[in-house]
């Protein structure tokens, strides 16, 4: 049913897309056409139904059922937040995307490692209050070094540095850490972080429950 030549070309492209044989630049346009044109949506369904039936007759289905299924799913999808995976960058950028992604990945990794070091050192200072003055000193000495490793962003140092403040031999937890612990409840309820508490606490909870 050739309405006009232009229309047929759009439908032939959709047919190629159904087979995964449309070059990526044309895919977006074809999806947009599908979005606009009910005829293309009907074609898309008919072609896939035909393919299914050719492969196996028991896949023949009542088109009314298919349509109802699609309508219900569309309404459910409209309630979903739109999926976005920016790492899989747009097709026209795909030529340079891998190197960019690689670079970003590497910096992210470096940052994560640095944050990890800071975290471990900070925790070390926290869990050994008896040794805290020297430990804290080590922590403070280590953090700038770790930051140098993570290089480009000066931000992490300022954020992460005051993990623990040691006044004399007293241990004072900072507000940021409190919020962190609040969010990670497995540590909550342990007023004294001086002991490796997570394990001990789960034991007491267990025995109390029995």
């Amino acid at each position: 049913m050739a309405i006009d030549g232009f229309d047929d070309a759009a439908r032939e492209r959709l047919s190629a897309l159904a087979d995964g044989q449309l070059d990526s630049a044309a895919v977006a346009a074809s999806c947009a056409a599908f979005h606009r044109d009910p005829q293309l949506r009907a074609d898309w369904h008919a072609w896939h139904l035909i393919g299914d039936v050719l492969r196996s007759e028991d896949l023949a289905s009542d088109p009314r059922h298919d349509r109802a299924f699609g309508a219900q799913l569309r309404s459910r999808l409209s309630a979903e937040p739109v999926v976005l995976a920016p790492a899989a960058s747009t097709s026209d950028l795909s030529a340079r995307a891998p190197s960019e992604r690689g670079r970003r990945g590497r910096w992210t990794a470096a940052g994560a490692v640095a944050a990890g070091v800071v975290m471990v050192v900070g925790t070390f200072a926290l869990v050994r209050p008896d040794a805290s003055p020297p430990a804290a000193r080590i922590a403070r000495a280590e953090i700038p070094a770790a930051t140098v490793v993570s290089a480009p962003g000066p931000a992490p140092a300022a954020d992460v540095q005051p993990v623990a403040i040691v006044a004399g031999s007293q241990l004072i937890r900072d507000a940021q850490l409190e919020r962190y612990l609040e969010a990670h409840k497995q540590f909550a309820g342990t007023s004294a972080l001086g002991v490796p508490s997570a394990f001990l606490r789960s034991a007491t909870v267990d025995s109390a429950a029995r």
Partner: protein, 202 residues
């Protein structure tokens, strides 16, 4: 078929926020997914619900889909897990059984909601799918040899355009147009069965 996943371009579009591209994948796979679930779950009323849940879960999980397997393989796994989970919930909460649903429907004087999937097993639906199957077979028989070979190699053998071009000894552009024309010809025969009286459209 070892060719790259035919769904990859659409999956990419979904990852860029194109919900319509996901709907295209749903239209493509809904029948296969429902058949798969139908083999696992006896209650036919539950099949569309579980299939819906499968697609919603797939949509949510799509950013994590890395393309290590074909999209359909991945979707298949989600369908199996969703069906298993529903079966377990059914055991725990046996109220949601076929009979419970049936009696609830009887109490209800109102006809079914328009967009609720109709029961796949009604005689009407069975007849409709039989008509579709025979119309497709009839239409394929009526195709010219070139068109029939092209659509068969694509849909049944799962070959790529390049492989079909090699087998049929013609340019890839010709393969593309033959497959399109074959689909058009078959769809034209199906149209009376596909067109809707109730006016709802794709």
């Amino acid at each position: 078929m070892n060719a790259p996943d035919a769904d990859a371009p659409l999956v990419e579009r979904v990852k860029q926020g194109d919900v319509k591209a996901f709907e295209m994948l749903v239209v493509k796979y809904q029948r296969r997914i429902e058949r798969l679930i139908g083999r696992m779950v006896r209650d036919v009323d539950l099949v569309p619900d579980i299939a819906q849940e499968t697609f919603i879960r797939a949509y949510r999980a799509l950013p994590q889909f890395r393309g290590d397997s074909a999209f359909y393989t991945w979707l298949y796994r989600i369908a199996v897990n969703t069906a298993k989970k529903s079966l377990m919930e059914l055991k725990r909460d046996p109220l949601v059984t076929e009979s419970a649903r049936a009696s609830r429907d009887e109490d209800d004087d109102n006809p079914r909601v328009e967009n609720e999937p109709s029961d796949a097993a009604t005689p009407d639906a069975v007849l409709a799918s039989k008509q579709i199957a025979s119309a497709v077979n009839f239409a394929v028989e009526a195709l010219s040899e070139d068109l029939r070979q092209a659509i068969t190699l694509r849909e049944i053998e799962g070959l790529s355009y390049e492989e079909i071009a090699e087998l049929m000894n013609c340019p890839i552009g010709t393969v593309r147009s033959r497959i399109f024309r074959a689909r058009e010809a078959i769809a034209a025969r199906l149209r009376p069965l596909l067109d809707t009286r109730d006016g709802d459209r794709w």
